[in-house]
Symmetry: C2
Subunit: 348 residues, 2 copies
Amino acid sequence: MTARPIRAIVYGVGAMGSIMARLLLEKGVEIVGAVARSPGKVGRDLGDVAELGRATGVVVEADARRALSTGDDVALVSVSSYLSVMRDHFLLCLEHGCNVITIEEESLWPWSTARELAEELDRAGRAHNASLVASGAQDVFWLNLVSCLMGAAHRVDTVEGRCSWNADDYGPEVARHVRVGDTPEEFDSYVAEHGWPDFVVRATLEALAADVELTPSSVTPSVRPVLAQTDRWSRALGRPISAGCVVGVVDGVTLATREGPTLSFEMAGRLYEEGDTDMNEWVVRGHPSELHLRNDRVPTRLITCTSVVNRIPDVINAEPGFLTLDRLPRLRYRHFPLHHYLARPGGP
Amino acid sequence: MTARPIRAIVYGVGAMGSIMARLLLEKGVEIVGAVARSPGKVGRDLGDVAELGRATGVVVEADARRALSTGDDVALVSVSSYLSVMRDHFLLCLEHGCNVITIEEESLWPWSTARELAEELDRAGRAHNASLVASGAQDVFWLNLVSCLMGAAHRVDTVEGRCSWNADDYGPEVARHVRVGDTPEEFDSYVAEHGWPDFVVRATLEALAADVELTPSSVTPSVRPVLAQTDRWSRALGRPISAGCVVGVVDGVTLATREGPTLSFEMAGRLYEEGDTDMNEWVVRGHPSELHLRNDRVPTRLITCTSVVNRIPDVINAEPGFLTLDRLPRLRYRHFPLHHYLARPGGP
């Protein structure tokens, strides 16, 4: 166990970064830098921007180079959802020898959809003795719990997952990403023109397949919009959404594997109505004929952050490079200050 | 990866051992010995005793010494529920350099209730380069899934579990163990005289606490009988149970820890009525305020066996000694013949 607290950078001080900042301080982590783009945040104390109820002495910087310094242990990076956008941010951290944990979804399994970028980042991590890992809600609820449930199976024929999350909970970037506010025609022409991006669903299934050494043979995506039944208000966008317009998507992927088992996952990200809660449901079919897992009332937004923070010791302890979750220990609850969980230098 | 199949001993050919024998053969494991006590089983082919639909060439032995030989990789031991009874069986396997996986419940966490025996077995395992591990339904459903769910918590105040299982599903030994057939007076006087044994509930919570480095400060058990509402039939005992007599127990433990979190688990083991199914439900309270996990229609009897079989590579790969599940990797689905998952000799 190291004597000194872990030194962390909060890289992205939006809805998620602000929660993470609070959790970090409560887990004995020293926040040594913060990065944000918005002119309304830059130059202010992180405690003020993240509404921590006290000053931290850490000034939010626009230029990450001013926030990073030698000896930083880890950067929690919550900026965007695609590796192409994130590459420069990750690279900068890694080149400073700073480990990265991100909620950027493609990084959950980057080897299919962004292999070249992933290889570049993997090399950078190895060169500078730093690792890069994606965590978030998917870590516990879509990967580790599901893989663990599969551990009770003698033969898996299919794995079927369903989940829902509130597209109003993650700020405007995410709400726009799932096309909240589009008319159905805008949605259709967007999809016709751009296709539908390989969001976290595909990456989740590919990570799950890799975790049990299965090889994807085909990936079949599907996407359909969820339309507002009545006029709605989007908190994330701060504007009304008219009845008939898009309030989210159901994003599905079916992954066939060379070895036989088929994995599918359908994720509904939409503006919730009164009484809706996040849920997560998985069924593994084969022998036994059915294994069931259900999580109700999942506080997705919060556990996205708790999972990232609980992952910090694993990522610092890990070998360098771009690592996926199948290569880390299962995520554990951290009762003690996070530096308690660091491997002793030179230890076993 | 070793080139040769894993060599296994089926040690105990009751309800569970018979299922395991089938799973082993389907996973490319070579069964090289079988042990049973019943005169009705001894001397017969394992395939006949376990109803495998074919002869195996393995004769069921009464004397385990005749079944064990040098080079056996693992014995799957399903004989009794207490370490004191099992000591000689485990010791014999370990002294042959044969790893052991057992569904004997106390071994899930033997360090409180049977420390001296556990230390003796730990020494024997280390001396003969063999490991001893308890698995079963508790591996996935009461430990790994729960610990994984806790991995999404920032602060745990309480963990509360509930499960049910069919006391008719595990043969007469287990049915008698939960006092099926007692009158309420017999049950009360049994408990008054003998106390209630530390069954798997306590061991589960102690293993769970150990998994997250919490230290038990007090253990509060509770037990109450479940009484038959009408005349019933016990398959396991092969006899009727009169209305008003015991058809099972609700066995509970609350474990307080020095660090603060409290863990509790209540297990209902009783003869099921038409339509009952096994379930498993856990709530973690703290921050987030609640995390929920539920498994419905759990095929407990089968997944007791699938979990043991899927654990085989982990136990062969493990360091020697008496190991608890917190010291093994999380259980994974095994799509390939089990020897595929063995660590390469001399490999990383």
